[in-house]
């Protein structure tokens, strides 16, 4: 991704800040890597220049007046207080300028909203606080077996700097995910955007694509990426506690590489499925379950229930000492809760394997002082699905 300075003439004040800013500081909107992003950028720059020129004229007149028409210089004020011609002129001129801006804006908008004739379709689903990508089809071929969640990969340790802790933060801090969305360049990709819980907004600045994910409704948008690369965006609509921690990463690759990626992904999925089946058949030792469970817990559960299991009552209940996580009779309820969710608790059944769920439940029943000694096995989870 280019890190050059984007110069914008109208924001003269930018210069004021340049002394304190690092070499990678970006002041302006990205011109992006799609035709639509270029058009949005051009429109933005046109508006910047027009506003800059109007500002220079109006503020110029004002400062001229402040200097020349002050009492010490200009003791006798004039007394005019209206002039119909002038007033008509400065009503009509702005109308014409706005018309000049509106015409390209309308053309761009019409182009951006034209989602017809897409080469491929991807379903984008937001939920607190992750994205799910499901491929629908590409060039007429069914891809609906491919789908995955995409989570922030910056560890919580890196951004939770309470108590004077400092951590090394990389260039991609908070803008990196475990599995990016992969799309081919040069193809019109249609996105169907929706949500499972609250409103999110899927935004990739380099594509000039920002579309709200509304629960119960499907919005359409599209992009056609000109250059291969990794493009980073964020969830733009306030969606709760971890709104700032659900980035969007899209990797655009050549159509050939995309085919390879599809084949590789399918192979990997088949292997994972086989491994998951093998996991179910095996009886796991306590320490294996605990080790895997802690890993799964920190990635998926600790945002709400906290690393300590203390939760954040009343919204996010504590697991430490809670009935469901300590009472033997409630093991089936515990499994059911993780699989199917309840209220604000999301369902993890589709997201985690039987082994992962068994491990995390075992972890929850034996960590944070919950010393139940219960070891839940993957086959128990499979049976509960």
């Amino acid at each position: 991704m280019s890190k050059q300075w984007y110069k914008s003439g109208a924001w003269l004040a930018a210069m004021l800040f340049s002394a304190g800013a690092g070499a990678e500081t970006q002041f302006n909107m990205t011109p992006g890597v799609t035709d639509n992003a270029h058009r949005a950028y051009d429109l933005h720059m046109a508006a910047v220049w027009i506003c800059g020129i109007i500002g220079a004229v109006v503020f110029g007149a004002m400062f001229y007046s402040i200097v020349k028409h002050r009492k010490s210089v200009h003791p006798k004020p004039a007394h005019f207080h209206e002039n119909t011609l002038v007033e008509i002129v400065w009503t009509v001129i702005p109308v014409l300028i706005l018309l000049g801006l509106a015409i390209p804006a309308v053309k761009t908008l019409v182009a951006m909203e034209d989602t017809r004739d897409a080469d491929m379709t991807v379903m984008v689903t937001g939920s607190q606080w992750k994205w799910h990508y499901k491929y629908v089809d590409a060039d007429g071929k069914d891809l609906s077996d491919i789908g995955f969640y995409s989570l922030l990969s910056t560890p919580r340790d890196t951004f939770e700097n309470y108590g004077g802790k400092t951590t090394e933060k990389s260039e991609t801090y908070l803008k990196e995910v475990d599995k990016p969305l992969v799309i081919p360049t040069g193809k019109k990709v249609r996105f169907l955007v929706t949500s499972e819980d609250v409103i999110h907004s899927w935004w990739v600045p380099a594509f000039a694509v920002k579309k709200d994910a509304v629960p119960g409704f499907i919005n359409e948008t599209w992009t056609k990426v000109n250059e291969a690369g990794v493009y980073r965006g964020v969830c733009a609509e306030l969606c709760g506690k971890d709104h700032g921690f659900m980035p969007v990463v899209v990797k655009a690759v050549s159509p050939e590489e995309f085919q390879t990626w599809v084949a590789d992904t399918r192979t990997a999925m088949a292997e994972a499925k086989k491994a998951a089946e093998a996991d179910v058949d095996r009886v796991w030792a306590m320490d294996e379950l605990m080790k895997k469970g802690e890993e799964v817990y920190l990635k998926n559960c600790s945002a709400c229930h906290q690393a300590t299991g203390a939760g954040m009552p009343p919204t996010f209940p504590a697991l430490a000492g809670s009935k469901i996580a300590t009472d033997k009779a409630q093991i089936p309820d515990h499994i059911g809760r993780v699989l199917k969710g309840k209220g604000a608790m999301p369902a993890f059944g589709a997201m985690l394997s039987d082994m992962e769920i068994a491990a995390v439940i075992t972890y929850e029943r034996n960590a944070f002082g919950n010393k139940t000694g219960d070891a839940v096995q993957p086959k128990d989870v499979k049976a509960a699905r």
Partner: protein, 531 residues
């Protein structure tokens, strides 16, 4: 004998001066007392809302979460917005209306004095309730001041119900205040004070009052639907029950966009009073100012969905709202040109009210420029929900609504309390504020354009420089307003401030300047004659 004298004294008080003690303020029906209550309440809320803003800016000073948890951060952004909009700006304007409208139109008081008392005393209750939610289980509302469903309905904390009741009370208060303004202006103008002779502050407030009574009930409807969705099994905003979360946004912004103008039109009136005074030249284009204000108010009802370009509106809707929004630039431009033309060839001096008024015109116009940019839907896809929007609305609100109010306070304070503030200190306050306000909000344009989204407690390191500048500016801005309090305290209660004349300002015109300073407890007991 002494009893008789006592009764006589009491009688005397009733007619010629305020009662004493706490009950004076609790029971008062006097427009000046109520105006002062509103203004001090607004100032208190301004400091509380500012404190919330400083929690936000402290957390954003450097990347990483250092001070507060994300869920508390969201409570701060929510309460900052609600307190500033409903607790600081709106009551400040109502306070100014109370003090000034009767004096400006030659009336003895507001038309509905008891309702006036009630509309004020509802507010401390409403905000007590809203702020108490900070101490409840689950914390305060955390879904932003726009409280979009379903984040606020299905996922809101238990305190959301206190928020709903609080908003209802604020709405009732605003509607009563607005009715009072309309009834006063329509019925109590002095003989000869025709509509087209009214000062622009009265005009802009009259129009604001109409906006208020049209949109506050819509807000009440939105929160009521929220309440029934939360507790009584309805599904107005839940697709699973046949509702639509986006409909919430339509209802909210049908209130919200006129609300934006409610928070700026009275400032237009203030600038239109102050600039002619210090230019020693009549306001340019009085009639066009009135028509422009009315046009802005009218247009405010047909532009609401420009806040919602990314929600998946049909193309036709996007086009309509884009074009209508761009049109607002025309009457707004007329107003700015008129202010510049008023200054042109005047004989200007630059006392504190004039400085704040000029800063208002310039910085509000910068906020207007980013407003035109935001109106362009294709570009808005990039700006929406970023710090560019935060920069935009703070440019129209801080230098717009707040500087307007500060200018008004300096301008009319000598009339209110009979004493002159210190020009030297006020100028320090001005220069300090103007630097701090730009340091706080200008870098937000850049962080937004570079891709930083709103309402996040942490950010990518590329935004670190801009955020640090904004945070430094914000703390400066906060300190500057404590200094403002010191200036006010010194002027009103310090005892050493020089006495003001009735005229106060050489170039001031209008009925309020014909009254002595301080203005008598009852403004015009005999209607003045307006030529």
């Amino acid at each position: 004998m002494s009893a008789v004298i006592h009764e006589h004294d009491h009688h005397h008080d009733d007619h010629h001066g305020p009662a004493k003690g706490l009950t004076r303020w609790l029971y008062t029906t006097n427009h000046k007392d109520i105006g002062s209550l509103y203004l001090w309440f607004a100032f208190t809320m301004f400091l509380i809302g500012g404190l919330f803003a400083l929690v936000i800016r402290a957390e954003l000073f450097i990347p990483g979460l250092q001070l507060v948890k994300p869920e508390f951060f969201n409570q701060m952004t929510t309460l900052h917005g609600l307190v500033m909009v409903f607790g600081a700006v709106m009551p400040a304007f109502t306070g100014l209306a109370n003090w000034l409208i009767p004096m400006m139109i030659g009336a003895p008081d507001m038309a509905l004095p008891r309702m006036n008392n009630w509309s004020f005393w509802i507010l401390p209750v409403a905000f007590g309730m809203l702020l108490s939610s900070l101490f409840m289980d689950g914390g305060a509302p955390n879904f932003g001041w726009t409280f979009y469903a379903p984040l606020s309905t299905k996922f809101g904390p238990p305190s959301t119900d206190y928020f709903i009741f609080g908003v209802h009370l604020m709405g009732i208060s605003s509607i009563m205040g607005a009715i009072n303004v309309i009834v006063t202006v329509m019925n109590m103008r002095a003989p000869g004070m025709t509509y087209m002779k009214m000062p622009l502050f009265v005009w802009t407030w009259l129009i604001t009052a109409f906006l208020l009574i049209m949109v506050m009930p819509v807000l009440a409807g939105a929160v009521t639907m929220m309440l029934t969705d939360r507790h009584f099994g309805t599904s107005f905003f839940d697709a699973a029950g046949g509702g639509d979360p986006v409909m919430f946004q339509h209802v909210f912004w049908f209130f919200g966009h006129p609300e934006v103008y409610i928070m700026i039109l009275p400032s237009f009136g203030i600038a239109s009073a102050i600039i002619p005074t210090f230019a020693r030249k009549p306001l340019f284009g009085y009639a066009s100012m009135v028509y422009a204000t009315a046009s802005i108010a009218g247009l405010s009802f047909i532009v609401w969905a420009h806040h919602m370009f990314t929600t998946g509106m049909p193309l036709a809707g996007e086009l309509f709202f884009m074009i209508c929004t761009m049109l607002i630039a025309v009457p707004t431009g007329v107003k700015v040109f008129n202010w510049v033309a008023t200054m042109w060839q005047g004989s200007m001096t630059f006392e504190a009210p004039m400085l704040f008024a000029i800063a208002f015109v310039i910085l509000f116009t910068i906020g207007g420029f980013s407003g035109i940019m935001l109106a362009l839907a294709p570009a808005d896809f990039q700006y929406h929900d970023t710090y560019f929007v935060v920069a935009h609305f703070h440019y129209v609100l801080f230098p717009g609504a707040i500087f307007g109010t500060i200018a008004a306070v300096y301008y009319w304070l000598p009339k209110w309390c009979g004493r002159m503030y210190s020009e030297k200190l006020a100028k320090i306050h001005f220069w300090w504020s103007i630097i701090a306000v730009n340091l706080t909000f200008f870098p937000m344009h850049f962080s937004g354009l570079a891709g930083m989204q709103r309402r996040v407690p942490d950010y990518a390191i590329q935004f670190a420089d801009f955020n640090m500048l904004s945070s430094i500016g914000a703390f400066g801005l906060g300190i500057g307003q404590l200094f403002f309090f010191y200036i006010l305290w010194k002027t009103i209660w310090g005892g050493k401030a020089p006495k003001a004349t009735a005229q106060v300002w050489e170039g001031a015109e209008g009925l309020e300047w014909t009254l002595p300073s301080p203005a008598p407890y009852h403004s015009f007991t005999e209607p003045p004659v307006v030529k």
